[in-house]
């Protein structure tokens, strides 16, 4: 076993402590920014839907502005967004580097995408069902929590899965710039020192992460879908 590892991935073995640390950093970045993004994205997504024309809290001005802001952030390439957000990042978390510094740009990079995912998921909820709830005397708050978020759950789970997977990608980029995480690890060793085995191992680890998220998503969907 040891010989095989030494033969094929010698550099990984040499840097295994740092590899473990990078994995931890990636998990930290993805879960913290993930949780913040999910909460913000669901709130914004719900607002995007309920303020649409003809919907329960119709508000064209709000809806328009919200849509424009989201499109604005979505159109900025993430690598540029990271740079542009440095002052804000410093202001919020006190530092623009390291795992901590990555959280702010990750949230900004993820929330617009995730909000749209939520919007799509909630738009799939049958309009007739919303009407039935209205006819039964449900309040807008009732309709949001008891109808939209519940009936739209399969779509929301799908959105969460896709978003977390893309967040792993973004976290590698953010880490590479600010330092920390698997992306940073792969760049420093695999790319800059030509230790290609490190790059491959990193890919495999990320692949495992993605599979776990996808698998969990599918599992939950199977449980709730009717």
């Amino acid at each position: 076993m040891k010989e095989v590892i030494l033969k094929y991935i010698p550099n990984v073995l040499d840097n295994r402590i740092e590899l473990m640390q990078s994995i931890g950093e990636t998990i930290a970045m993805v879960s913290i920014s993930g949780i913040i993004s999910l909460v913000l994205g669901i709130i914004i997504g719900v607002f995007l839907v309920v303020t649409k024309e003809g919907n329960i809290l119709e508000n064209n001005i709000f809806n328009n502005i919200m849509g424009k802001i989201i499109n604005f952030f979505r159109s900025i390439p993430f690598i540029i967004l990271i740079g542009a957000l440095i002052p804000l990042t410093r202001l919020i978390v006190g530092s623009a580097i390291g795992t901590k510094g990555a959280i702010v740009p990750l949230v900004f990079g993820t929330v617009p995408f995730f909000s749209r995912q939520i919007e799509t998921a909630l738009m799939e909820v049958d309009k007739g069902v919303i009407e039935a709830a209205q006819a039964m005397g449900s309040s807008p708050l009732d309709i949001i929590f008891r109808v939209y978020l519940r009936e739209g759950l399969p779509g929301i789970i799908r959105g969460i899965t896709i978003t977390l997977i893309s967040l792993i990608g973004l976290s590698a980029m953010a880490g590479a710039i600010g330092g920390g995480g698997l992306g940073d690890f792969a760049i420093r060793y695999g790319y800059q020192r030509f230790q290609i085995d490190i790059t491959y191992v990193t890919i495999i680890i990320i692949l495992i992460f993605v599979s776990i998220i996808q698998g969990l998503g599918n599992l939950v969907l199977k449980k709730i879908e009717r």
């Binding site: 049958d126 007739g128 069902v129 009407e131 039935a132 709830a133 209205q134 006819a135 039964m136 005397g137 449900s138 309040s139 009732d142 008891r146 109808v147 519940r150 009936e151 759950l153 709730i224 009717r226």
Partner: protein, 355 residues
């Protein structure tokens, strides 16, 4: 119970305006089943949705139990809506909830304990005949069963009015009948007032007391179902009435090239009609034996309007000419209306429609 007063609804999307309802006024009495019939696009859904203000009228008032709903604040309107149940063409059940949870949905906030809620839900499911499906999900139910769940859900808060927007239009005829029967039964049991819209005259015929015919956003004719059936005025109304019988069809078939009923030259074809109770069938077999005539019914129809049955048949008599004549006279003596339909042999197309 419900007064629709001068309601107009204009849909305005900035570019063009659609006048879906034009100055409609209606009174719906307590305890009646009121039907609104019209072709697709006539404005029926918009009108019924105006009643519980799912659609806010552009002008006009909706008065429910003496109170103008259009003047209420949102919160008060919501509490009134609990007294106006609604069911839909596509059932609109919560797919993520099982039957129990669907029916329990509107009970939230009604201050029932868990036990009381359970009792109420089971009671409602009993009422619609679905007690064995408590744990099923909508995707596991047939259309008729889904509509029963929807009815139970709509009745959860003891509404006084039930609005039905094409509630049977997605169902097959047999299921349609069972749902209509259920509605009638519930109306009597719970003292409901029902407003239903449909594009099928058969639905109106089956359960409505009064009916409005709608076209182009307006009510073009209104009356009791018997009135509308016996004396339709508007062309559209007549069209709707024709859809409930196959009379036109039978003449079409008779005039076709091939002689599918195998009518012979010496046979006699007649339209036999009766009003009120009749023993036509008994007379038919009795007369057939007595005069040694084969009598086959090519077409038969009974309308029951209010309490009065109106029956109509097209009968093919074969046998001796004189005997047929005696048979017909016998029918006439017994009070049936008999009109002989002209024909000249099996291949000619001279069956004339008699009115």
């Amino acid at each position: 119970m419900i007064e629709i007063i001068g309601v107009t609804k204009v849909f305005d999307n900035g570019k063009n305006k659609v006048k879906a309802i034009q100055d409609v006024s209606l009174n719906i009495n307590k305890g009646e089943i009121y039907g609104i019939i019209g072709y697709s696009g006539a404005g029926k859904s918009t009108l019924i949705r105006c009643i519980n203000l799912l659609e806010r009228p552009t002008t006009g008032k909706i008065v429910f139990k003496g109170e103008d709903l259009t003047a209420l604040r949102e919160k008060d309107l919501r509490s009134r809506r609990k007294k106006i149940g609604m069911i839909f063409q596509h059932f609109n059940l919560f797919n993520s909830r099982n039957v129990y949870k669907n029916v329990a949905y509107p009970l939230r906030g009604s201050k029932l304990s868990k036990e009381e809620e359970k009792k109420r839900v089971l009671e409602l499911l009993e009422l619609v005949g679905l007690k064995d499906k408590v744990m099923a999900y909508p995707s596991e139910l047939s259309g008729g069963q889904k509509q029963r769940v929807a009815i139970a859900r709509a009745l959860a808060n003891n509404p006084e009015v039930l609005l039905c927007d094409e509630a049977t239009s997605a169902l097959d005829p047999k299921t349609t009948n069972s749902i209509l029967e259920l509605l009638r039964e519930l109306k009597n049991k719970l003292n409901l007032t029902i407003v239903l819209i449909t594009h099928e005259m058969s639905v109106i015929k089956q359960i409505c007391d009064r009916v409005s015919v709608m076209e182009g956003g307006q009510i073009i004719e209104e009356g009791t179902v018997a009135q509308i059936f016996s004396q339709p005025i508007h062309e559209t109304t007549k069209e709707f009435i024709d859809t409930t019988t196959n009379r036109g069809k039978i003449y079409e078939i008779l005039n076709k090239e091939e002689n599918i009923f195998n009518i012979k030259e010496e046979d006699v074809l007649a339209r036999v009609a009766y009003i009120g109770e009749s023993t036509t069938e008994a007379l038919l077999s009795k007369g057939s034996r007595k005069y040694r005539i084969d009598a086959s019914i090519l077409y038969g129809n009974i309308e029951i309007l209010g309490e009065t049955p109106i029956g109509e048949m097209i009968i093919l008599f074969s046998g001796e000419r004189e005997n047929i004549q005696s048979f017909i006279n016998y029918f006439r003596e017994k009070g049936l209306i008999v009109e002989v339909i002209d024909h000249e042999g099996s291949n000619s197309k001279v069956y004339t429609k008699c009115s």
